[in-house]
Amino acid sequence: MLLKPILLAGKGEQFTIHSLGSNHEEVSGLQQLGCFEGATGRVVSGPSNLILQIGNTRLAISDRLARTIVIRSQ
């Protein structure tokens, strides 16, 4: 499976998070919300105004932050 930034994932695409590449504070914020390396989810809407469903958590993520999340498509 190819690695790619989550911004390139299509609507409805399922993924596993490979890495969170932004600074510590942002990574920490994402992790607290259940968005950590190895977590699985799907893209609800995007790529602009990206919404992810990770587990039972629905996350709204701005484009800039989304660029730092690398996923592996399932």
């Binding site: 409805g12 809407s45 587990g55 958590t57 629905r58 996350l59």
Partner: protein, 811 residues
């Protein structure tokens, strides 16, 4: 099981009344959990209080305290702001963490940190919260429908070693989603008791009470989430070499602080409102380096290891899958998605989210929602307002007819009843406004609105999270400013606080409604819109536009800061709980009536006196025969420009021939008011407000409205009731329409005057409560003062321009 907190033999004095004997220790129970997990609902159920609740993260930003008697024991119950982690830096979440640790800087010898923009002097230090000791018991509220993410905080709370009871809340919603967290399995894994409830069911608080009464809580084992050996050793090393001897933190914070230092990119930055004591920075850095080395030597990543270990443990608690989180639900959503891809049904929430968070449609939808709300307020409230008006007019007439004439009747009818009635009439509009705001909050839409507006807010130097406080500002600036605590960046938060008072709060509503009803015709525009509603909406837009411009100015003035990217949990869409919506709405209505009523009654009584005395039908010194003085005084005070026929020798009431002076054509009541103390004050400031189109009567209203905006309506009602000497009981708006300048016979109120007055109220800082809360949140008097002077000056200039331009255009 942990020993029960020391028993208290306090008398049962009723809920939420602290026993008079302050020496008695009351055990404290803290409700802690992620945002939007139903903590406040349970708090209300346990204490009988009515804390505001809603369906979006960050509604509780301060500590709420109540009391409950459970099993013969009195407890202090503290509802903490929701937090995702003990390491969060957001102001509201820090309040929760500080309360859990009982720290609030106690025992620290360090310097105060300041991470805020230099020019504001504001930082993200906590506003003054009630000082608390660590709680005796933590009720950890967990959303049963999302246990994996919620248990992240649970495992952190375990590290404090404070006795815990885990409450799996929203069990009904979890069942609907097909999720069963299995309380017994969870209890075994966590090592603390677990109960399952649904906060919206009346039995929920009872189940928790029973669990507490039955001592179903236990002291958890710190690091009971089984971190890798290297991490455990690193934590022990850091606690031993830095946290315990040097940090000044209480025992409950030792392990959480060690874990934060290991994973934090900048461990030396202020976190517990302090910096390391001078000279100790190197000791800290050395201890952290050594701890991280222990992890690295074992092949781990110090920054990531804690999170991964926690989620591994949580996976084992909920599904037995050691590494993947929320596998069951991911499978469920994957199945839903697979159906969607094959043309089967797309979940309704996904469809709605795609639409309401669309880059272009989303903001349009948000604007449409606001417009519909404001239109509804104006249209639907009308019959109820007429009814209230009728009640007050009838009451006034009845009192006048049945009470003996005299001062008491005058105070009651012309002072209290007129002042109160003038404001209470707008209660229906305020109730409708709060109803819609609570409806939006309860539906789960507000978080989406924050998200779609983030891009726009960033251009103004604010954050998407600023949207919720700003929308709260439509109701009242005070809770809106408090709600800015959910904004992480001190700069973003500062700008939001400074522009928030421009949002059209409910206190402006009576002023707008009165003037619009009086001077804007209810004609239909565009085939379906009421012009009055359109103007009403326009005023709200004007408030928003002014806030936007003010934000742009502040954004340019303040030192630049990198915009913090938006990430927010979106709550599930829910049909609002009508009981909660109505309860919140009527609570706010009650607060409006009680708070506004209290001020208005006091001001109305004082105003009645000031507007009724001295009686000028027979000036006291006239009877003394000081003719020259009287003639001089009359000329001076009444600004007579033509002869005034004052028969001083006869001691008769002052009279002027129609059209011959300032009081010509003015009723006796009008003359009396003009020469009263209030009239003199109004005329004293008249030169300053005349260019805005305001006469001295409006001037009196402006002065009283600096206590609270809505007071001007009561003031005008009182003034016009005193002025009306023919027993007129017509509504205030009719009195305004009919009021004329005694000199010219021209109407006092024109459309230009009404527009100018509305603009003044849109921009001026006329709210003591807002000034006080800005002082509290910014920690200085500088900014409330800047806000007051700046807004008032802006209001004067804009009103002047509006009045002059409108006067030219409309004649």
């Amino acid at each position: 099981m942990a020993p029960r907190p020391a028993a208290v033999q306090g008398a049962k004095t009723g809920h939420n009344q602290e026993p008079e004997d302050g020496s008695i220790h009351i055990p404290t129970i803290a409700l802690a959990g992620n945002p939007n997990t139903g903590k406040s609902t349970l708090f209300n159920g346990m204490t009988g209080l009515r804390q505001h609740i809603a369906n979006y993260p960050g509604i509780t930003v301060d500590l709420s305290t109540g009391f409950a008697d459970i099993g013969g024991q009195r407890y202090r119950i503290v509802d903490l702001p929701g937090t995702y982690s003990l390491h969060s830096r957001k102001p509201d979440e820090r309040i929760a963490v500080r309360s859990l640790f009982g720290t609030i800087g106690a025992g620290h010898s360090g310097r105060t940190g300041d991470s805020g923009p230099a020019k504001t002097g504001m930082n993200n230090k906590m506003p003054e919260a009630d000082e608390l000791s660590p709680p005796d018991l933590i009720l950890n509220i967990v959303d049963s429908s999302n246990p994996d993410r919620n248990l992240f905080l649970t495992t952190q709370l375990m590290d404090t070693g404070i006795p815990m009871l885990v409450v799996l809340n929203m069990a009904d919603l979890a069942r609907e989603k097909g999720i069963d967290p299995d309380p017994e399995r969870l209890e075994r894994k966590l090592g603390v008791p677990v109960v399952s409830v649904s906060a919206t069911e009346r039995s929920a608080a009872g189940l928790i009470r029973d669990a507490i009464a039955g001592e179903r809580f236990a002291r958890p084992k710190p690091l009971g989430w089984r971190p890798e050996k290297a991490l455990r050793k690193a934590v022990e090393h850091l606690v031993e070499h830095w946290v315990r001897p040097h940090s000044g933190l209480p025992a409950a914070a030792h392990i959480p602080e060690a874990l934060r230092l290991i994973s934090d990119e900048h461990p030396g930055t202020p976190f517990h409102d302090t910096l390391p004591p001078p000279g100790m920075q190197k000791v800290l850095e050395k201890a952290v380096d050594e701890a991280r080395s222990i992890i690295r030597q074992a092949g781990g990543n110090p920054v990531a290891i804690e999170v991964l270990n926690r989620y591994e443990f949580i996976g084992g608690c909920t599904s037995g899958n050691a590494t993947k989180t929320a596998t069951a639900s991911a499978t469920a959503t994957a199945n839903a998605n697979a159906k969607a891809n094959t043309g089967a049904t797309i979940p309704i929430a996904d469809r709605i989210d795609t639409m309401v968070t669309h880059r272009i449609l989303g903001p349009l939808f948000f604007a449409l929602v606001l417009m519909l709300v404001f239109q509804s307020i104006f249209t639907w409230a009308e019959p109820f307002m007429d009814l209230i008006d009728l009640v007050f007019i009838s009451s006034g007439m009845w009192l006048s007819a049945n009470l003996p004439p005299g001062i008491l009747t005058d105070v009651l009818v012309d002072g209290v009843l007129a002042g109160l009635g003038g404001v209470i009439i707008f209660l229906p509009q305020i109730l409708f406004l709060f109803f819609f705001i609570h409806l939006l909050e309860g539906s789960g839409y507000m978080a989406r609105a924050a998200f779609v507006m983030d891009r726009f807010m960033a251009r103004l130097g604010m954050h998407g999270r600023s949207v919720v406080p700003l929308v709260s500002g439509f109701a009242c600036a005070v809770p809106g400013i408090m709600a800015t605590r959910s904004i992480e960046s001190a700069r973003d938060r500062f700008i939001t606080i400074m522009v928030l008072p421009f949002m059209t709060c409910s206190a402006r509503l009576p002023v707008y409604a009165l003037l619009i009803a009086a001077f804007i015709p209810p004609t239909v525009v565009l085939g379906f819109l009421n012009l009055q509603g359109v103007v009403f909406f326009g005023l709200y837009m004007f408030g928003i536009l002014t806030a936007v411009l003010a934000a742009l100015v502040l954004n340019r003035m303040l030192p630049k800061e990198k915009h913090r990217p938006f990430v927010m949990e979106l709550p599930d869409y829910r049909m609002p709980d009508w009981r909660t919506v109505l309860s919140n709405t009527f609570d706010r209505g009650r607060v409006f009536v009680v708070e506004a009523g209290r001020i208005i009654i006091a001001i109305s009584i004082v105003l009645w006196f000031l507007a009724s005395y001295p009686k000028t039908d027979v000036l006291p010194h006239i009877q003394g025969g000081d003719v020259a003085l009287v003639e001089e005084e009359v000329e001076e005070e009444i600004e007579v420009d033509i002869d005034v026929d004052v028969d001083v020798e006869m001691g008769m009431e002052m009279e002027a021939e129609p059209g011959t002076g300032a009081e010509a054509g003015e009723s006796a009541g009008g003359r009396e008011l003009r020469n009263s103390y209030a009239g003199r004050i109004g005329r004293f400031i008249e030169p300053a407000i005349e260019p805005l189109g305001f006469d001295w009567k409006i001037g009196i209203g402006l002065i009283t409205s600096f206590a609270a905006r809505e007071v001007i309506v009561g003031t005008l009602n009182t003034i016009y009731s005193i002025q009306a000497d023919n027993g007129s009981e017509e509504p205030l708006r009719q009195k305004l329409i009919g009021d004329t300048h005694p000199e010219t016979g021209q109407p006092v109120y024109t459309i230009a005057t009404a527009l100018s007055l509305m603009v003044f109220f849109a921009l001026a800082m006329q709210c003591m409560a807002t000034i006080a809360v800005v002082r509290r949140e910014t920690g200085t008097w500088k900014w409330p003062l800047v806000m007051f002077l700046g807004m008032t000056a802006l209001a004067w200039v804009c009103s002047f321009v509006v009045y002059q331009v409108a006067g030219l255009l409309l004649g």
